[in-house]
Symmetry: C2
Subunit: 356 residues, 2 copies
């Protein structure tokens, strides 16, 4: 493998000094980019694009060719594991992910088996390897998965939901069965992330998209406990270098202290969190990743730059901050606004790191 | 007016001693009740029901006839003010509230005028008066409005939204114009709540349904500041008795200390907040209202009772707690589960208040 030329991301995640604050963006390979849309059209569907290692690698690298981003994230989906378990992932146009065979009774849950990543998720591992070759050491590559709880949400509901009535009825009504499902998911996620690291991922991220809709103590028991199980069981080193783990519970800002305590290297925060307060609350235990409102990207260059400045100043001097949005970039973002974001983060943070 | 026979709600909101923890439920007059559905059918639509003072009063009282609830809340909608401003409120089946004439440019915002509640919202004031007569002092009557920011969300988007892209573009791109709209809304809300109090409301609540999707410092500037403007300008006494004000920002648990500081008597909390921690965080500054996950109501009597016990014990001994759900009750709740909730709150809290 080519040696890493830009390791700002890995250094900031491990709270080592950096020359500038690193920046990448959730869904940076996505529909706001015309070249992404062209490849997706060629693939025929999101699923075909995701399941083709060469096309997945192609779109992964597209934003790196346009912008001075400090990381690539393999193009994939958070729900590959339930798909590998046989639930049948598909995307209804404009509706987000759905499963053909959601878990509708205890028997369906009990019948689930751990997928073997080398066999059942080969296409992801091949995409990871192909991304690494294509990057040739330019920036590190991030692998990822949905969190055990978020997988369970989609597996039970069969798709997104306003109220997660089915998930919550199972959780409140038969907690033991819910725990068995979550334990299986946690083992599957850990094995899968290990395989991505083995294939070349240099950092990994757990997306807990729906943990934030849980009652406080249920979040601890049904989401955070399984994030911890994953974090504590995956390998944390590859090629003699530490592989940082990022956990991100959307809407989890209220529980930040607990999230910071599960052994991850970094915690993602959404825009509802004041980053200055967040830094005080985690007290140097973890790095922070975030947290600009993606809607700022729809406005104007001067507004974007001011918001970048506000967030950088909020975090303050010193390392331990990876700049990102607080959620995926929207498809309506003008592509030139991404340059404004990336360049503003680099320019405005340089003086801070020189001082700090 | 008949003297008030059960003033537990008012006492708990003002942190005065009570014999049992009072309980009411958001949307307690709603679609889970067959008698509500019968009246709504007779009315022809939600809008006709809401705009008929006699039918609105009828459904307001229905849950009081079934359950030992400690409060009634006038049947209405959070969006009556923009409707009175001429935006044309309607409800698309299964889609929530929408406006026929959303605010799509600066001219539309500048053209808005303050409604006169006595003329433009007479139907609400008549419903309040009719509810008071129908209640005949059984329990206090709560009046309400959407918060200035939440009104602005619907006025600009024309309905609900996943990302509130239009609202946020206005807020980030032209903050001065957004502030003018919010100031107008705050003055309209204050005048409207005053008129409801004049007509007979014995407590009032501000529903900030969408404040929780704001970035931390924007919440302070664009939602909380206008909640404070309303709270500090409305009358706080009627018939020689204090009229408590409750503010509720859904998803605002992370900002609880700030919300508790704007001068309201009580703060609503959703289920993502641990109520024991919330009590410590507000430090006796306000009462708390909440915070059971409405999905618990879909399970079983034993689960509901256990959850009630957990929340009552979480709050702990002493007054200052009004039991409620963390969001509106869902239409799929079995009506008999509401008795379980109400009776569990009363039974399980009695011993605590005798001790405390």
């Amino acid at each position: 493998m080519a040696p890493l030329q830009n390791d700002r991301l890995l250094r900031a995640l491990l709270r080592e000094p950096v020359d500038m604050t690193p920046v990448w963006v959730m869904r940076q390979a996505g529909r706001y980019l015309p070249e992404y849309n062209a490849t997706r059209k060629r693939a025929g569907s999101f699923i075909s694009l995701m399941k083709s290692p060469s096309m997945a690698a192609e779109v992964t690298l597209q934003p790196l060719d346009r912008y001075r981003l400090d990381a690539a994230i393999v193009f994939s989906d958070i729900l590959t594991i339930p798909d590998a378990m046989g639930l049948g992932l598909y995307f209804a146009e404009g509706e987000g992910p759905r499963f053909e065979r959601p878990l509708r009774d205890a028997a369906a849950i009990e019948a689930l088996r751990l997928p073997d990543p080398d066999r059942d998720l080969r296409y992801v591992l091949d995409a990871v390897a192909e991304c690494r070759r294509g990057l040739a050491g330019r920036v590190p590559l991030i692998g990822f998965s949905g969190s055990p709880f978020t997988l369970a949400c989609y597996m039970i509901e069969g798709g997104g939901s306003d109220d997660f009535a089915r998930v919550k009825q199972l959780m409140y009504g038969d907690p033991a069965l819910m725990h068995r499902l979550l334990d299986l998911n946690a083992r599957a996620v850990a094995t899968y992330l290990d395989a991505q690291i083995e294939a070349g991922a240099q950092a990994v991220m757990l997306f807990d998209t729906w943990g934030g809709m849980l009652a406080a103590e249920r979040y601890q028991a049904f989401s955070l406990a399984y994030l911890q199980q994953v974090v504590s069981s995956i390998r944390r080193e590859a090629d003699g270098r530490r592989v940082p783990v990022i956990v991100f519970t959307k809407g989890g800002g209220i529980w930040l202290e607990s999230i910071a305590g599960i052994g991850a290297d970094a915690v993602g925060i959404d825009w509802t969190v004041d980053i200055a307060q967040a830094r005080r609350r985690v007290g140097g235990q973890v790095a922070l990743q975030g947290n600009m409102d993606p809607m700022v990207m729809l406005t104007r260059p001067d507004v974007i730059r001011d918001e970048v400045a506000r967030i950088l100043e909020g975090f303050g001097p010193g390392t331990g901050h990876v700049f990102n949005l607080g959620h995926g970039i929207t498809r309506f973002t003008p592509p030139e606004h991404m340059s404004v974001l990336v360049d503003s983060v680099h320019e405005l943070s340089q003086a801070m790191h020189a001082r700090g």
